[in-house]
């Protein structure tokens, strides 16, 4: 019932949008009627454009995420458990972290050229930070009493990490991962729009530059669907993996 009420406004707007187009008979190079967008969407889906372009974007985004997020994960555990290393790296982190990944697009083009390599590198740079920062915070903020428990029970260092530290921080790492997935998609599409001739972002830019508003809006819609689906899948996984208790913890972070 709630979702039905929520749908009322968007559906009404779409109908109004369609009617105003039909009544006025506008021919436009910048906007399109919902029906035209739907046709363009269907065509792009049927001829395989959407699948191919989405594959390109996801390939770059996920590879970059694996590299960036993976190194962020490993490094956060190291600096979380060995504070001297954290102090050693802190300055470098503070200098590098505020650099927006997008600002590095020209650098990446110059160094790596167009193609997957530069997009992956930029996504890796952008996703490294959230995982590193959130992960480090998670490890530093483990309930001290849990560490006391592991000490009085005399768990060895390996068990302490696998049985206490990692399970205690997993929900927060997962939140960092969810954030990193969103960042990966944003950076990949931005890179494609700005420069790289692959992926959904490129298709979107092409549609805009060749004055095909219906296809352009169809791609925007599709990007929204991809982002929403990824987040929904991850939320579902988070609930299944960590249960209701972890969800409340995740919300607080």
């Amino acid at each position: 019932m709630k979702t039905l009420k929520g749908l009322l406004l968007p559906v009404l707007l779409l109908v109004l949008w369609e009617i105003s187009f039909r009544v006025s008979g506008i021919q436009s190079d910048s906007i399109a009627a919902p029906s035209q967008i739907a046709v363009a969407f269907w065509t792009a889906l049927a001829d395989g454009t959407i699948v191919r372009r989405t594959g390109e974007t996801l390939r770059a985004a996920m590879t970059g995420l694996a590299i960036g997020g993976g190194s962020g994960l490993v490094l956060s555990i190291i600096i979380g458990l060995v504070p001297p290393i954290a102090r050693l790296l802190q300055f470098s982190f503070e200098v590098l972290r505020p650099v927006p990944a997008v600002a590095l697009i020209p650098v990446a083009i110059l160094v790596l050229g167009f193609g997957y390599g530069m997009e992956i590198a930029l996504v890796a740079f952008a996703t490294f930070w959230p995982v590193l920062i959130y992960g480090h915070a998670a490890i530093v903020n483990i309930e001290p009493q849990l560490l006391d428990v592991s000490r009085v029970l005399r768990l060895n260092p390996f068990s302490r990490i696998t049985k206490v530290v990692l399970p205690a921080t997993m929900p927060r790492y997962f939140v960092a991962f969810r954030l990193a997935v969103a960042v990966a998609l944003i950076v990949a599409i931005t890179v494609e729009i700005a420069a790289n001739p692959i992926g959904i972002g490129y298709e979107l830019m092409q549609a805009s530059q060749s004055l095909r508003p219906a296809l352009m809006f169809a791609m925007v819609l599709w990007i929204g669907i991809v982002g929403w689906t990824l987040n929904a899948v991850l939320l579902f996984a988070q609930r299944r993996l960590f249960g209701p208790a972890a969800m409340s913890l995740a919300v607080r972070t």
Binding site: Q145, L146, R151, V152, L153, R154, L155, P167
Partner: protein, 261 residues
């Protein structure tokens, strides 16, 4: 719980001229205390008197700034297998992602008990603390009293000769607290475990202890040690009505009021 026999046995835990500072702030000063085997010693005092710090030293979680804490005649450096520690805040002392059984298992895993032997031992321990039907429940699904029972079971899994308890029943309601007091007395009477028990509840201290150590705050010092002369068999009603109980309660209350003045 006969009080006389303790004098004969050798000291199990001893503090010799122990001082402890936190930064420049003195926490404990000139602590000299001996605890004998099978004794039940309660530590009471206002907040800031260092009673928890004292307990953490025996638990091996803290080292004294000067002086020595010895267990069985040997200087303690770090947690010992025979000493188990029960924390006040049950919600933070149990691993929330493990069931009651899993939490008890942690102590067995730490002691290298092989996996196939853990199951029966866990079942036996949970039964002992009255949680036989809650083995597969997670801490969040258990009441505060039940969570503390899981902690007791985990402590017992270590087969400790010393049980350190840091205000274990402080956060529980009165009825649950009383039933857990009797439960702890029953469990340790069977095994002859030595207990050091921190509490801010003076009646609880008298009810449970053979001796009550009262501390002064800022810095924490031992002010006075009270011997509890009560029949070994404690009863929530009759023990608390004994003239000796009332007299001790009066003395302790007067003492605390004096300390606060």
């Amino acid at each position: 719980m006969p009080t006389v026999s303790h004098a004969d046995s050798a000291p199990l835990i001893s503090f010799r001229d122990v001082n402890h500072d936190f930064g420049n702030r003195p926490i404990l000063r000139n602590i000299n205390l001996t605890v004998r085997k099978s004794e039940f010693v309660c530590l009471v005092g206002p907040s800031g008197c260092g009673k928890t710090t004292l307990l953490r030293m025996i638990g091996g979680l803290l080292a004294p700034t000067s002086g020595e804490v010895a267990f069985n005649g040997h200087r303690l450096n770090g947690p010992a297998k025979e000493i188990s520690f029960m924390f006040q805040d049950y919600s933070k002392a149990l691993l929330p992602w493990r069931t009651a059984a899993g939490n008890v298992s942690l102590a067995l895993e730490a002691n290298g008990v092989p996996a196939r032997k853990r199951g029966p031992r866990i079942a036996e321990l949970l039964k002992k603390v009255g949680l036989a039907n809650h083995a597969e429940h997670f801490p969040a699904q258990l009441s505060g009293g039940m969570q503390q029972r899981v902690q007791i079971a985990r402590c017992l899994a270590q087969d400790p000769s010393v049980l350190l308890m840091d205000e274990p029943f402080g956060a529980l309601d009165a009825m649950t607290r009383q039933s857990l007091q009797d439960e702890i007395l029953r469990l340790i009477a069977a095994s002859g475990t030595t207990v050091l028990f921190v509490t801010h509840d003076l009646e609880e201290a008298i009810y449970l202890g053979n001796r009550v150590v009262a501390l002064y705050p800022n810095p924490g010092r031992i002010a006075q040690i009270f011997d509890v002369d009560l029949p070994a068999k404690r009863d929530q009603l009759t023990t608390r009505e004994q003239p000796n109980f009332l007299r001790l309660r009066r003395e302790l209350y007067d003492f605390v009021r004096e300390g606060e003045a």
